[in-house]
């Protein structure tokens, strides 16, 4: 899944996108847990009650999560496969929390690595 990617075009934008993704991953993870708790309390699917109110809200949060993945993925050069898989992680309870950690570590490394690369390349110009 971690195939080599093209260099990040805009490091500042990628950093911002990573922050947005981290927030949304945590929110989507929490929203799903809340949804499941509500469904369990109600005693099954389609029983109405509070889940009637929460499911559309969860859907909206999930959509923003998906958008944040695309936003990050395009900026750090992910493949379509990687983006879709990350989006689908939002269907699995608690998984977004782990994905958030994994992606954060990886992208931060990528950003740091690129900052190191950029410096020596730019030096000989002087």
């Amino acid at each position: 899944m971690s195939e080599q990617v093209r260099p990040i075009r805009d490091v500042a934008a990628a950093r911002k996108a990573l922050g947005f993704f981290k927030v949304m991953a945590i929110m989507a993870g929490c929203a799903l847990v809340v949804l499941i708790v509500i469904i369990v309390i109600n005693g099954g699917f389609g029983k109405g009650g509070l889940s009637e109110v929460w499911s559309p809200i969860h859907g909206f949060i999930y959509f923003v999560f998906v958008a944040s993945i695309a936003n990050l993925g395009f900026k750090v050069g992910w493949s379509l496969r990687r983006m879709v898989l990350t989006m689908m992680s939002g269907f699995v309870p608690v998984l977004p929390f782990f994905i958030e950690r994994k992606v954060a570590v990886e992208v931060q490394g990528q950003l740091a690595g690129q900052a190191d690369q950029d410096a020596p390349v730019a030096l000989p110009s002087d």
Binding site: R6, R9, D10, G48, E52, V53, S55, P56, G59, F60, F63, V66, A67, A70, F74, L80, M83, D118, V121, A122, P124, S125
Partner: protein, 267 residues
């Protein structure tokens, strides 16, 4: 435009069409639920005069099911039919359905006067003027369930309250509806046969908040649009990569610092 982008476009269009249809499905669910809500709310609406809701031979109104109405007329006992098998409070039996000749106008409307366990208990009421208050319902769907489907069968029995059969049996104009009688003034049914029990109108089960399904419909469409956006963005990025590569190779050959090309490509 590279061939693989066209292939991907085909998939994207397919996904968008699927999401669009899923959205339409949810929209229809929302509409159906809205209708159920309307029907469930119908019993809480004030009692209306039948003439204000429905006239003979006209289509049953969308918001008519479950409406409480009042209608005055005279029963035509000769047209009475029994609908069976029916159940009430665990007992098997018959619905007693009698045409009421509505005054003024003279059109006939089917009234479910009550329920009996034995056909002999279903004695026809007198033809005194009576005001019936009850709940309106559309005619039941026809059945092909053997001879009982025919009201002209010896016992005058039907399997369902099929108005298309009653229109042939009863003279004059027919209302496209029937009434679950709750009360009669005077109570001619009890006077004719005290064992006849009133049939409560069926309760509507299920339902739910329509706006939730409308929100789902909207979300499906947002995802469909987003899929299209993803494709466009990928094509654009790929195109820019191609330009960068060209530029970089040119830049390297002319020994211009890489730092500047990076700036130039930060669009």
């Amino acid at each position: 435009m590279k061939p693989r982008w066209l292939g991907l476009l085909a998939i994207v269009v397919l996904v968008m069409a699927t999401f669009g249809m899923l959205g339409l499905w949810q929209l229809n669910v929302a509409r159906d639920k809205g209708q159920v809500e309307q029907i469930r709310a119908a019993p809480t609406r004030p009692v209306a005069d039948l003439a204000a809701v429905l006239s003979p031979h006209s289509a049953f109104p969308d918001d008519g099911t479950g409406r409480r109405i009042t209608v005055t007329g005279r029963y035509d006992g000769s047209g009475q039919v029994l609908v069976a098998p029916r159940r009430l409070r665990g007992q098997a039996g018959y619905w007693v359905v009698t045409p009421l000749v509505v005054s003024p106008g003279g059109g006939r409307i089917a009234v479910v006067r009550g329920f009996v366990t034995d056909p002999r208990q279903a004695l026809a009421p007198g033809s005194a003027e009576v005001t019936v208050t009850g709940t309106l319902a559309p005619g039941e769907s026809p059945t092909t369930d053997g001879p009982r489907a025919d009201p002209a069968s010896p016992a005058g029995q039907m399997a369902v309250l099929d108005l298309s059969l009653l229109v042939n049996r009863w003279p004059g104009a027919l209302y496209n509806a029937f009434v679950f009688a709750a009360t009669e003034q005077p109570d001619v049914t009890a006077a004719a046969s005290p064992v006849v029990q009133r049939v409560p109108p069926p309760a509507l089960a299920g339902g739910g908040l329509a706006w939730r399904n409308a929100a789902y419909a909207f979300q499906w469409w947002v995802f469909a649009l987003f899929t299209g956006y993803m494709w466009w963005r990928m094509v654009r990025d790929d195109h820019e990569d191609g330009r960068d590569n060209l530029k970089n190779s040119y830049v390297r050959s002319t020994l211009t610092p890489v730092g500047e090309t990076r700036k130039a490509s930060n669009v």
